[in-house]
Amino acid sequence: MTISLEWMIPQNQNTMKMSVKVHPVPVFLFLLMNFPGLHAGSYMKYGKIETEDLKMSQYTKDTSADALILGDIQQVKIVYNNLEGFQMVLYRHTRIKIFNQNGYNWANQTIRFYESPTITENITSLRGCTYYLEDGKEVSVKMKNESEFTEDLSEHWRACRFTLPAIKPGAVIEYSYLLTSDYLTRLPDWQYQYRIPVVHSEMTVEIPEFFNYKQLSSGYVPVTSVEHSGGQANYSYSNTTQDRLGNRETSLHQGIYQTNIMRMEAGDVPAFIEEPMITTVQNYLAAINFELSTTKFPGEMMKNHTTTWEDINKTLMESDNFGGQLRSGLFLNSFAAAFENGDYSDMEKAQLALLHIKSQIAWNGSNSIYPEKTLRNSYTEGSGNVADLNLNLVVLLDKMGLEADPVILSTRSNGILNPFYPQLTKFNYVVARVKIGDRYCLMDATERNCPTHILPVRCLNGQGRLISKNRTDWVDLESHGCSYEEACLAQLALDDRGIISGSMQHMKKDYAAYLTRNTVQKKTSLDDYIRELESENAGLEIRDYNFRDLDSVQKPIIYSFDVEIRERAMVAGDFIYLNPMLFEQVESNPFKLKERKYPVDYAYPIKRSFILNLEIPDGYEIEEIPDGLTLEMPEQSATYSYVIRPAPGRLQLLSKLDIRKSVFYYDEYELLQVFYDKLVEKQAEPIVLKRIASPQGP
């Protein structure tokens, strides 16, 4: 038997099906096994609905549930088909209770499948039924063809959409189908947590002894039981030989092979409730994925698929579509040659290479670790996906004499990698790592406004994996000391009408600069950006402005305004009240909910400082000012200081927030909330000025 690796065209959603196809070389014929014969439906039987389920008006364990998954059965089996080779067959049977109208969308279901010349997936035996009680009697309404549609999502992806009829509050729906696939690299995921609670979910996997899959769990809900057992299957195959005279002889072989059966259950799984500032729901939903690790067929050596990180490294380096691309790149020689004799530092070379790729190839918005085209084509055509850009960058850096390698990663919206379970399909992005002096630097060519030393926010997701000829290793994707940094220095004077005037200087660095450049670029002109700042900051009037280094992506942006600020100070009788934080005031706590189950993920550290030098009007004196404040989270993970100093005729304020780490875990949430409460409270405090009793006449 041979196992061929085939590379598929990337799909929408940036997924790629890399198939392991198993073809018999001598005609190796297994008898098609019965399906779904395997421990069929011990938990629930299609068409037999419990009366209590129909009567249930709410789920006592979660009275807020709009719908409830009563049972979700998945049976996956790898079988032999004499025409197609080994195939995966999935039997899925799902039963859902719908409590109210908010739960109606659970009656609309979509099954995605894939069709290409090398991979065929089919959905068969789709059936569905709705049950409800009417005058105490059970009524059932079957789903008919009129409620089923198949649609082409893209060249290879299809969607089978169906909707169950006669949905009403209290109805129970169920459906089942078979999905056959010759894509064996990854078996269907078992997801057992949803946005509604699940009473019972189970997955049974039966796999011939020739295949070995490994599992990767995600989420925060444990599986309640796992059982292993063994099975047996008969096979028969015919072997045709031909002697020197051309006489053919066919012999029939029969035998038995073992299967490994695993059955997993999860019960009473709570609904997943989304909270703000999490990376992606997929990171938190409880699920198990299965990825092919090894195959071993009779009379053959064991073949590894993605067993270790070294294997992933080797697979990628040997593949035409990754390592092969890295070995191409003659077309880059002429650009690289220009730097051979010049007097360029490594840093300059790296920056020039990055700039060249950014200006030469536009990102088409797709993520993948594999290029869509050859590197030459993306370079000459001027567009490509992430891999087209960044592998071109790796090759160019290498040609310029720098040590450069790709680092593959999973973006924030694609989910976190589990370091203990190497799975190639989890990666969806690639960046370049280059050695500059004795430091390593990560670079990405997709964003014009992103400087050399930082990665776009989507990449900041734990660790990535270095792929190279010699070795592979983890690489920290953290922002390497780069943060969202902004500072404002204000030199202002207040007059006795409550009008403030003077100048404000802003500095934005790293992520702050990158995101500001993106915002400014979306405007027709700088004027528009200024008008927007004015309308966001009621009372601010910007008279004159000056921007420095707006177009020098590597540098911080510095800009200054001449301003007049009205309607911020309150003049009443002998008093003037003014909040000295002005537009820098954080008015409400971003963490409003009482508790939180998932981490707070800022992506990068944050530094914000505000320095104010304020002249107070003649004839007034400081009556009262806020006290200073220092706040610290444990291990200085976040600090805040507020210092205010009066001087004759003026005062100075320094407010400085420093959030030093980007992820706070749920047990730190309460402290973080208190931290912000105190900060918001302090920043609400005004200064009070009082008119000096007018001097008595001479």
């Binding site: 999502l153 959409r161 009829p165 927007e532 309607e567 009443a572 008093f575 009240y577 405090e685």
Partner: protein
Amino acid sequence: MRSVIPYILLFSWGSHVLASGIYESQVLPYDTSNIPSRLLENANAVIRDSEKIFRLESPDRATLTERYAITILNRNGSSYADFNEVYGTFSRIGKLRATLYDSHGRIIDKIRPDDFEDYSIASGYTLYDDSRRIHYNPLGYSYPYTIEYSFKVDYNGLLDIPDWSPVPGFGISTEKSSYAIHVAAGLHIKYLELNLDFKVRINEPEGYTEYLWQAADLQAIEPEPYSPPAQEYIPMVLAAPVEFEMDGYAGTMGSWEEFGAWQAKLLEGRNELPEETVRKIHDLTSGMDDKREITREVYKYLQSRTRYISIQEGIGGWQPFPAETVDRLGYGDCKALANYCRSLLAAAGIESFYTKVRAGRYETGLRREFVSNQSNHIILCVPLDQDTIWLECTNQKNPPGYIGHFTDNRNAMIITGEGGAIVRTRRYEQAENCQYRSATVNLNPDGSGNARVTTRYSGLQYDNVSGILDESFEEKKKWLYRNLGLTNIRVEGFSYLLEGNEVPEVTESIDLKLNRCATVMGKRYFIVLNLLNRSDYIPEETGNRKTDVWLRFPFIDADTITYILPEGYRIESCPEEVSIQNRFGSLEIVLDVAEKRVTYIRIRKMNEGVFPPDTYPELLHLFRSTASADRMTLVLVRSE
């Protein structure tokens, strides 16, 4: 993919030679230096040359031939380079071509039809839609570049003639654009010219009539806050066939009556209900004789039995599923559900009309003066003796008779036995769209306090809370934490009560523990008086305003908040009362100060209407004054 550049054209013809006629044959037409500078003002893209020809051959056959070239000046204009055309059962797109030119107008690329994507437009609530989109998005060309598209559409069934707008959006100017409609002898069209400063030219060559519009040298338009819908100010031509046919259903659009008669044909025989359902409706409504009450009951029955799912297939884009089908499946799109509801009402002896409307919060409704297919949604009109009830049949949660922003106050076409007629949907008056709030806040010396807040939302402001009424207790609580706009609070209890029908009213009561509702500093105590309804939004200032100012709907917000002052403090400074009024609305803030108590009353009214461009500063003034007044602070000081 890149074609070889014709080197002979590589000589750089600077713009200085352009004026000279001798070189004209060699000047590249899409050289960006040819663009007059006034067309570059505020522009991210420029239409260089656009030519659109629509040939109407028979009531159900037509072709559209289109070719246009757009120069993309910078990345903000890049969306204008995208190709997006939708086709379906009654149309086919062919002869797709795209050519790219660099800034000198030299060809740099040719795009083959295979490079265009073709995908379904179905999404969200759509189970199936036979319409597909052809899309192309050029990438990787440095600015400025020019893209030229040409394509052809064949129609085999038709209700519409494409619109034409020589300036199709914001930030795009036009050098040259034309639209020709060729109408075969014996057929007729109608057209409506909007905001055009030129007129159609009509030619009559043999066998057909040509209607021709030609525009040149149009400057880019900038978006302005509070503008009316674009149709009110951008140049545009709407056109429609007089005689048309789709899937064997022929009709005419001479009048609303005629057009409605065509729609009525598609509804014929689609309102049969199973006997059992008829019986249920009789049971449900027996003993009732108030038509309004019957209508409400039937509507609630519809809501409990059906849900909205969009399925668009062939003539099914205009013809609803039969009522029997909806009865069996329990779902349908807006047409099917409205037709089903009409059948249910008929079973209860109530007459109602299938109503075609243009839905959307910022849509203005059908143009009465121009009979054509302008709707995108169906609702139901139930005429009563005194007034009319409107039913939105796709929503399972609306109180009976409430249609909201989605279809209120606009022209719609009802289909009666005689055909179509234009009527106006319900308008919600200022006095109906209210948010009335009253609260009592007990303040403690440490800056904390307790509050009991009661708010009544009515009319269109019902939608401020309609989305959470059906949510669970926990979700409602979270919503309150996120939306009250207060920091460091505890929601101790709350309730919602929904009343009313055509004008819904929700009463919300909340008990709050405010851990920090005042700022205490030294001997002073600061209270921002507007507890829950601060407005800090100020629209952008625009230089020389061109468009009218449009306020979409009128409303009243009234907040009455009584603060019981903390022990041991007296008032040091009390803010001034506010009274502003102009054509756009008003803000009144009144303070009633007693020894131990301050009552803050804020009444904000906003009007509706269309106002001339030069009134915009008055609107800004109103918003600015409101933002400033909403920071109004009461200062207390510790009594010595």
